[in-house]
Structure formats: C-alpha cells, structure tokens
C-alpha cells in the first residue's frame, strides 16, 4: 500500500509502463476518429490526415472506406492506393468485405479501416472487424479507424435508452482504451442536422427516415455529451499515464479494485455494465466472478449460457473473470475479494420478495460477513420483471441429451409406478379384514417411498394413485371416492405430502449423484489419458492415445497437427495408421492457431463458422502442434466444463509431445556421445599402434648410433637417416590423425585465456631444429591483451607455418613472426623474404594434399596448412596467404579478442 510519505513512483508501475512501451514498439499504432453519430465527419477527417501523411512520403493503403455516397469524401479518395475488397458469397448475395490477408501481404506503413465496429460476414477469419485491426496492429502496421459512441460496448445500453435504437455492432471498450490516439470529431447538433438536411450525411431518401428515428436534436445532444465525456475519461487516463511517466506524484491512487458477481438474475447484465462504467470512472481494475452452487448447476442450459455470456461480456469490458464452484455464495465472494485485495463490491439489488422475517438480502449478508468492504448496490430496471418471465424455466439437465430411448425409459417408469400401486392395492385388499386401516396406510406410504426411487414424476403419480386407491378400496364407504369420516382427509394429505416430498428428495439426490458421476467420469478420463500418455515414448503413440481418448470422452473425432522442422503444420492423419474418416482439417486455420497460440474455429472468435475446433498444444517451452476436434454433438463442446476438460487434454498432450521430443533429443545426444567415444577410442588406438613402432624405430636407430665402439661414418649416417625418417613419419601420422579428428568434429577446444607470447615461445622452441639455417625475427608488442585459445592447437598452427617456411624458403632467409591487435581481432602473421607463393595459388595452398610445387623433392604431403585452416576456423578466426610486398610470402591468421578476465594485483 502506498503511504502519503511514499514519494517515489511504484517500480512495478514503471516496469509495466516500460513493458507496455516495448510491446508497442513492435505493434502498429491505432488511431481512432471518434464521433457522437454518423455524419460528423470522421471519415473525412481520417482521409485528410492520411493524405497529409502520404504527401510526407508514408506508404498509405486504403483498406476500407465507406463514402456513403458523400461526394466531398469520395473526392479525398482520389489518388490514394485502395485495396480491392474481397467478394464473399453470403446467402446468395455477393458482399464486399475487407481483404485481411491481402492487406497483411501488402504490409503498408499505414492502413485506413473505416467503421471499426463492423461485423464481418460469417466465413471470414474473424467475426468482428476490430479483430482484423488487431491482427494488422500485431503485424506492425499502423491503423486509422473510425467509431461512433453508440458502438462502445459499455455505453451500448445507455445509448439504447436515449435513442430507443439498439445497435448490435459493438466493440469492447478495451479496444478503444488501448488505442494509441483518439481524435474526437465533433460538430454541434444544429450543424449536423443542417448537414443532414443538405443531404450530406445520407442520400436523400434515407435522410428523411433517419431524421425521424435517430437524428432528433435531443438525441444528438445527448450522444454528443456521451462522446465528449468518454473522450474526456480517456484523456484523463492519458494524463494519469503521463503523470506516472513523469513521476508527478500527488495523484497516486491506492488500489481500489472492484469485484462484481454475476448470477442467474436477469439484471446481471446491467450490473456488469454498471460495474464496468464505475471501474472506468475510478480508473481501477475490476473482477467479475460467478459462484456456481449445486442449485445453480441445475439451471436450464439456456440460463447457464446466459450467465456465462454475462461473464464473457465482463471480460470484453476489461474485467478479470473467474468461475468458482462453492455452495456458500457470500463466503466465497468475500474470500475472493480478500485474496485479490478488492475493496469494493458491486452487486445487483435483490428483488424485494421476503417470505420470512429472518431472511436477509444478499447485500445484508455480505455486509455482515465483511463490514470493511464497500458495498455498491445497483438498482433494478423497472421493466425487468417482464423480461425475466419470458425466460424459459424448462428444466433440462446439462448432460442429458434427450433420445427416444431415454423417453421410453421415462414412460416405462410411470408404468412401473402405476403397476406398483395396483399390485399393492390387490395385495392389501385381502389384508383389509385383518388389519387396521392405519396399517394399510403404512403399506401405501411404503409403496410411494419405494416408487420414489424411479424419480419425482413416478413418485407423484404413485402418491396420487395410492390416495385414490386407499380412498376407493379401504375408506368407508368402500368402492366409492366419497369420504364419510373427515379425519381421512388428513390421512390423504399426509400420504400425498410424503409421496411428493420423498420423490423430490430422491430426485435431488439422483441429480447430485449424476453430477458427481459426471465429475468422476471427467476425472477418470483425465486420469486415463494422463496415465496412457505418460507411457508413450513415440509421437505415433501420443497421436493414437489422444485420438482414442478424445473419441471416447467427447464422442468427437480428433487429429493432431504437428509442425515440421520449419514450423509448418503437417496433418498426422495422413499417416497410414489413422482412420479414413478424417475430419475436414483446414491447415490454414490450424496454422493460425499454432502461430498465435490461440484456439480457432468452432466456438471461438476466429472463424467460428468452421466445424472443427483447433486448440494449440502449448507446452512449457513452445507450442508443440494443434489439436483439431470435431464433435458429433456440437453442443457438447459449448459446455464450459467440457471445453475446460478439452483444454486440459490439450495441455496433457502438449506436455507428452514435449516429453517425447526431449526423449528424442536425449537419445540423439546419447548416440552422438557414444559415436564420439567410439571415434576417440579408435583414434587413440590407431595413434598408439602407429606411434609405438615409430618410437621403437627412433630409439633403436639412436641407440645404434651410440653403440660403443663407434660406428663407421657411413653406418652412423644410415642410423641418423633412419631416425630422421621415423620422426618425419611420426609428424605425418600426427597430422593425419589430427586432420581426421578435426574433420570428424571430434575436437573439443581447451580454450584458455593466455598471452600469445607464450605459445609463440613454445612453437619457436619446437621449430628450433628446422629453422637452424634461418634468421627468425619476433615482433610482438608487450601490451597485447590475453586471447582465448587452445594452446596446443595454436602452437600446432605456428609450428606448421614455421615448418613451411623452413621447407619452402632457401637457407639464410629471414622469417618474421609478428602480432598486433586490430579492432576486435588479434592478427598474427608469419612472413618471409623467400620466393613467394605460386601466383594464383594463394587460396589453394590450404587445400588438403596440396603442396607449393608438384612432385618436388621437398618432403610432406601438404596437410600442414589444411590443419592450420581447420584449427583457426574452429577458433572463429580466418587464415589467409598472400604475396608479401617486396617479395616473399605472408601467412596471416586472426583470433577473436573478446573480453579477458581481470587479474587481481599482487
């Protein structure tokens, strides 16, 4: 909580601001031309602004502009680049719609999209135009659009109240609030009416009608006020955002978030809208929750859908929503409010319908439970009761799909109830002479209780039949419905009451049992798929298991679409192991769902006309594919619990796919490790087997030379020759083995930060023998930074280069080894003043088995430079050969410098 002493801006707020700015940097900017009604000149203003931008050199594309036959607007379109509309067949008519894909392909800097609240023809990708715009913005395209105040969702009912014209094309307020700029286009009501009369708004014959209904001066003034207020709210929001930006403290607001509850009450929609407006005015975040009690779960499907629709509305109005399953409404609401730190509760006022004096309204209950939370009651509309009576109260259990079979079973239950009553009556008649009538009553009550197991209807039937039979057969006068003693009326009443209430009770229990069994079924199917998937080790198994599970649980056909290496989805159903009755998968839609990570198709906001639902399989690291589901009973997928279950399935499948993926990765790594181990041991064995005889050769030749008494000079020379050749052979073997190792990728660089000087010293020491006839000059600056390299390999490079010098330059030549730091590279060169390289072969010398001259007497097979290149390239460096200015050759290699670690002084 911010205290008055807290002068600093909240870091979280600033961070949110930065994140928002980053996100916006990638997104296009949305500017909305906002007006109170048609005809104020929004489109005109938009076009004027766009023309100005185009004249400044911006790439402007006209996506959709409705001129409504207004000449002065049409003129402005001249010379602008207009996107051809897409022709869509709808109920036999060709309609022109905005071509989203073409616009995305063209990718202009700015696109003009008129009438943001427009609803697309079914069959387009999105049902609403603002969703098209959202996608354009996401692609980084700036959008100019227009909007009238009556199209704002939260003001929709208010405007409807003012004008008596309810518009159905609305946009969520969050779209308006998220717009980067809002430009209010405003003219006074009189002027608008004058324009209307002049035919500038609608063409003549429309104008008359419009003026009567909508364009009344009172309406226009009220709408204008609404538009101005709404814009003012937004500007205020901007000002606050600016203040947070600029660290102007004074207006820090404490968290005053709102919570509203959505229930079956028809006034709920009103409450939601009111809460949204209130939250907007308070500039606070708000939550909407629905507490589902067992009795609410029993509601008719239509009612439940209405509740969920209200919750959806809340979401589009910017609320955070949640569904909570709990028997105690008030307690769970308070618990939610406390958990989320919500200090204000918005509820609808209860209808005044108090049966008992101790009954309290929900407001009073909430107030008693949480005296510290502000309670705001929203009044009821006067005509609400009429609306509520229209609602169907027909009882349709959620999961019951009425089939003729089921109806027959129901009928049969009534027959059973009647038969039980008849049987019991026949059984009781002989007993009547022996037992008291009160005992007979007990037998009938027993019958009713037993029959109650069949349900509420049969129980009621049994109660009525029992009363009749008892009256007819046992109450004097017998065999007549007449009753002589009044006290039997009480007996009848008790029998009827017992029958009805027991029936009611059993039905309730049966319902609860069914709900519980459905829950169990869901849990069971989840458990099953989780268990099966956990055993899967191959993608094919995952596909098979998910297919079978979804088939079993949802009575739906499913397909898994998995991405190939380039992220394009491939339908696994084309694999031979799948059934033939594959569903009509639209790869394009699936790809959309995969790329966005949002569900698409049936029952979603994107291409809802499709038969198939596409759910992206989101795993912890990335999306793993798309699950396509087509339910045979479509309604089943609309039930929230079922959708949740399906989403859970999707999550499980995604995790299984990810696990399988990593199993594959691990196996590959293991295989690679194994082959590397094999290669290394092979090379080591080879190296050992080749070197051992060479060691023996060298050693024996040398010991031969040392034999006492001394050998003759010819013998000595032979021994020396054997030794030299063996050593050369050894170098050759080393080169070959190193080349094999480097080429097979089997070298792990032992990178260390070290001075170059040291490795140069070691290389010169190794090459000392070869370069005895040469003059060696070393030029290394003392202040060279440390470089990260593998000392053995770089020494190898230097030795090879020096060895080359010894071979290809005449004795007495000067070999210069120099180094310098150039930019972020260390440049090392070995040069000489010898005959230079064969012209045009500067690059070829680095090829394997290439030598300076063909068939020369100089020993070697030409691997040295090839190894140098391989080593330097594995260090991310470059090695080149060139003619030295002034004669001779120069070999240069580079190593990246990087950032050496600091050395503590000592």
């Amino acid at each position: 909580m911010a205290t008055s002493a807290d002068q600093r801006p909240d870091p979280d707020l600033l961070l949110a601001k930065v994140n928002e700015q980053e996100r916006k940097a990638r997104r296009g900017r949305l500017r909305i031309y906002f007006g109170s009604s048609a005809g104020v000149g929004k489109t005109y203003a938009m076009l004027v602004a766009a023309r100005k931008l185009e004249s400044e050199g911006r790439k402007v594309l006209v996506g959709v502009v409705e001129t409504h036959g207004r000449a002065e607007t049409a003129v402005l379109l001249d010379g602008l680049d207009v996107l051809p509309p897409k022709s869509v067949e709808y109920r036999g008519r060709a309609l022109a719609e905005f071509d989203l894909d073409a616009a995305l392909n063209r990718h202009p800097e700015l696109i003009l999209i008129d009438e943001l609240a427009h609803s697309n023809v079914s069959g387009m990708r999105h049902p609403k135009r603002w969703q098209d715009v959202d996608e354009l913005l996401a692609a980084g395209i700036d959008v100019f659009s227009t909007l009238n105040v009556q199209h704002l969702e939260s003001l929709n009912d208010v405007v409807g109240g003012i004008t008596n014209v309810r518009v159905w094309e609305t946009i969520p307020d969050k779209v308006f609030d998220a717009a980067d700029e809002v430009v209010l286009v405003d003219i006074p009501a009189d002027e608008l009416l004058a324009r209307l009369k002049a035919g500038k708004v609608y063409v003549a014959h429309q104008a008359e009608r419009a003026a009567q209904h909508f364009f009344r001066k009172g309406n226009l003034m009220a709408l204008r006020e609404l538009a101005l207020r709404r814009t003012a709210d937004r500007v205020e929001g901007d000002v606050q955002a600016y203040r947070v930006d600029q660290s102007i403290e004074s207006v820090w607001k404490t968290a005053s978030a709102l919570l509203t509850c959505v229930g079956p009450d028809p006034a709920a929609e009103r409450v939601v809208r009111a809460a949204a407006r209130l939250a907007g005015q308070l500039n606070a975040e708000w939550h909407a929750i629905y507490v589902e009690t067992p009795s609410l779960q029993r509601l008719a499907a239509a009612k439940r859908e209405k509740i969920l629709a209200n919750l959806n509305l809340a979401q589009t109005l910017g609320a955070t929503t949640a569904v909570i399953a709990d028997a105690q409404i008030a307690e769970s609401v308070i618990a939610y409010a406390r958990k989320n730190n919500l200090s204000k509760l918005v509820i609808g006022r209860d209808p005044i319908r108090r049966l008992w004096p101790w009954q309290r309204s929900s407001g009073q209950r909430l107030a008693m439970l949480a005296p510290d939370i502000d309670l705001i009651e929203i009044g009821r509309a006067v005509n609400q009761s009429a609306e509520s009576s229209r609602e169907s109260n027909r009882f349709t259990p959620l999961y019951e799909v009425e089939s003729s079979e089921r109806r027959n079973a129901k009928r049969l239950r009534y027959v059973w109830a009647a038969a039980a009553c008849v049987g019991m009556t026949l059984l009781s008649i002989p007993l009547a002479s022996h037992f008291d009538r009160s005992n007979i009553v007990a037998i009938f009550i027993l019958t009713v209780v037993l029959v109650a197991r069949l349900g509420r209807g049969p129980a009621a039937l049994a109660a009525v039949l029992s009363v009749c039979a008892f009256d007819f057969f046992f109450v004097p006068p017998r065999f007549s419905f007449a009753v002589s003693d009044v006290q039997y009326l009480l007996t009848f009443f008790v029998m009827l009451a017992v029958g009805l209430s027991v029936g009611q009770l059993t039905t309730g229990l049966r319902f609860q049992a069914r709900v519980a069994s459905h829950r169990e079924e869901r849990a069971g199917s989840l458990y099953e798929i989780a268990r099966d998937l956990s055993a899967a080790v191959q993608v094919e198994q995952v596909v098979k298991i998910s297919d079978a599970s979804i088939q079993r649980t949802f009575r739906a056909s499913a397909a898994l679409l998995l991405p190939d290496s380039s992220g394009r989805l491939v339908d696994t159903s084309s694999a031979p192991l799948k059934r033939v009755d594959a569903l009509p998968v639209e790869i394009g839609t699936a790809q959309w769902a995969f790329d966005r990570g949002q569900p698409a198709g049936f029952g979603t906001d994107t291409l809802p006309g499709s038969e198939v639902l596409y759910i992206p399989l989101r795993a912890p690291t990335q999306a793993r594919g798309v699950l396509a589901v087509k339910a045979h009973n479509r309604r089943l997928l609309r039930i929230p619990e079922q959708r949740q279950l399906l989403d859970t399935f999707a999550a499980l499948i995604a995790i299984a796919l990810e696990r399988v993926h990593y199993v594959g990765v691990a196996q590959d790594a293991l295989l690679k490790m194994e082959s590397e181990r094999l290669r290394n041991s092979l090379l080591a064995a080879l190296s050992h087997d080749l070197r051992t005889p060479l060691t023996v050769l060298v050693g024996l030749a040398e010991s031969l030379a040392l034999t006492a008494p001394g050998l003759s000079s010819v013998q000595l020379e032979t021994a020396q020759a054997i030794q030299d050749e063996a050593r050369r052979m050894s170098t050759l073997v080393s080169n070959l083995l190193d080349m094999a190792r480097i080429e097979s990728g089997g070298v792990t660089l032992n990178l260390q930060w070290q001075p170059l000087e040291e490795v140069v010293g070691a290389a010169l020491e190794s090459a000392r023998g070869m370069l005895q006839q040469h003059r060696v000059v070393v030029q290394i600056p003392r202040d060279l930074p440390l470089v990260k390299f593998d000392a053995v390999l770089i020494e190898r490079v230097l030795v090879n280069l020096l060895e080359n010098e010894s071979k290809y330059t005449p004795p007495g030549s000067t070999v210069t080894l120099s180094a310098e730091a150039v930019d972020d590279q260390l440049k090392v060169s070995v040069s000489d003043n010898g005959p230079g390289l064969p012209v045009g072969r500067e690059e070829a010398v680095f090829q394997k088995f290439t030598r300076g001259e063909r068939e020369s007497a100089t020993p070697g097979v030409g691997l040295g430079l090839a190894i140098c290149r391989a080593i330097i390239e594995s260090h991310q460096g470059k090695i080149t050969a060139a003619q030295r200015p002034g004669g001779g050759a120069v070999f240069t290699f580079t190593l990246p410098l990087g950032f050496p670690p600091r050395i503590a002084d000592g």
Partner: protein, 233 residues
C-alpha cells in the same frame, strides 16, 4: 666392491621400447628391472627399492595415474612417465598425481637420458637450500635476502612474482602444472584461474629472460605447465 648401481624400474608393455631404453640406461650405469604390466611394476617398486621408475601411461592392465596415486602413498621415488602426444590431459593428471617428468612419444635416447639425469640429480641433491644463492643464465637469486640480480643489475619483483620464482627454483628442472603452481602461489581457491599463472609467468620472463618471446630458462610445456631449466641447451 664398487658402490651398488642405481636401480631403475621400467614399466612398459612394448618389448622393443623396453629394449632400447634398457640399452641406453645400462650404458649410463643403471641397473634395470623390466615390467610389462602395472601389477608387476607395482610389485617391483615395492620389493626392489628403485631409485627411478619409468612408467608408460598406456598399459594394457590399468591406469598409470592410479599407479602413481598408489605409489605416492608410500614412496617418493622419482617417476618419469611416457605418453603419446595427443593426451595433454593424461600428462597433467600424471604430474598432478606425483610424476616428476614426462616424455612424449616418439622420444629419442638423448631426451630420455637428459631427463633421467636431471631427475636423478634432483634426487641426489635433495631440496634446494633455501638460503643458498641460485643462478641461471646471468640471473642470480638470493632466496634468503629476497634479492634478484640480472647481469649485475637489481631487479624488482612483486611478492607474487617472487613466490612464483621461488617455487620454480625449488622444483628446478621439473615440470610444474598450472594447477600445482596456482595451489602453491595463490592458494587452493584459485585452482581454476589458469590465466593468473600465465600472466605472471609472462612478467617473470619480461624481467629475467633476454628475449621473452624465446625464453631459455623459464620454459613453457604447452597446455601442461612450466619448467625452469638452469642450464640452457
């Protein structure tokens, strides 16, 4: 009767290598015991009271590093290991496990004898007298006075440089791995900071070598460590 000959044990599985090494060492006046396996070698080392062990790291029946660890548990006899060029890591491990020197195959008799002589001399001389003066090239160091002269001119060394030089002198002729130097000079906490050694070794060379790029005394054993050579070749 003359003084008994010094005893060397040669553990090497290749008969021909054993043959020329034996020839060379016997000519130098050593008594040689050959062993073809690790197990025999360990037995000989325990029973023959050797003055030197020459150990091939690539034996068929075991790991030379393990041999060294076993041996160092009860003996300080100098060990020279023989190893192929490719496996710097093996050499480092062997040196860290207590080997005194190494030879890379293929090696010549001359190199072998030079190493054997240096190792044997170190053993006979015992530890360097901490109070005695030590010289290499034209550099003269008085360890007790903590003074260093090069060609008569006093050289200033930082405390770490001096500790480093002291360590090299105490192990003159012997290869010290980076890890050993780090542990002795900087302490165990710096065991991974190999670049420290390289940088300070560079400083020492700048101050004490005639041509730091072509050192004559403070030699680099590439990727393994350093060796101080008193008498330049």
């Amino acid at each position: 009767m003359a003084e008994p000959l010094p005893v060397a044990i040669l553990i090497e599985d290749e008969r021909q290598i054993r043959r020329f090494v034996r020839t060379a060492l016997e000519a130098e006046g050593w008594s040689i015991h050959e062993a073809a396996t690790m197990r025999d070698g360990l037995n000989d080392a325990g029973t023959r009271r050797p003055d030197l062990i020459i150990l091939d790291l690539g034996l068929p029946d075991g790991d030379g590093v393990q041999f060294l660890r076993d041996l160092r548990g009860w003996s300080k006899v100098p060990v020279i290991v023989l190893s192929a060029r490719v496996s710097e890591q093996d050499k480092i491990e062997a040196l860290d496990a207590g080997a005194d020197d190494y030879l890379t195959k293929p090696f010549g008799v001359g190199e072998l004898l030079a190493r054997v002589r240096a190792t044997a001399r170190r053993r006979l001389d015992g530890a360097v007298d901490p109070n005695a003066a030590f010289t290499f090239g034209d550099v003269k160091i008085d360890l007790s006075q903590r003074t260093v002269y090069k060609g008569g001119a006093a050289i200033h060394l930082t405390p770490i440089e001096f500790r480093l030089l002291g360590l090299l002198i105490a192990n003159s002729g012997k290869v010290l791995t980076h890890r050993q130097i780090l542990r002795e000079v900087w302490g165990p906490a710096h065991a991974e900071d190999g670049h420290y050694v390289r940088v300070y070794m560079g400083h020492l060379r700048q101050k004490l070598e005639d041509d730091p790029a072509q050192p004559r005394h403070i030699l680099t054993e590439t990727a393994v460590g350093y060796r101080l050579v008193q008498n330049a070749r």
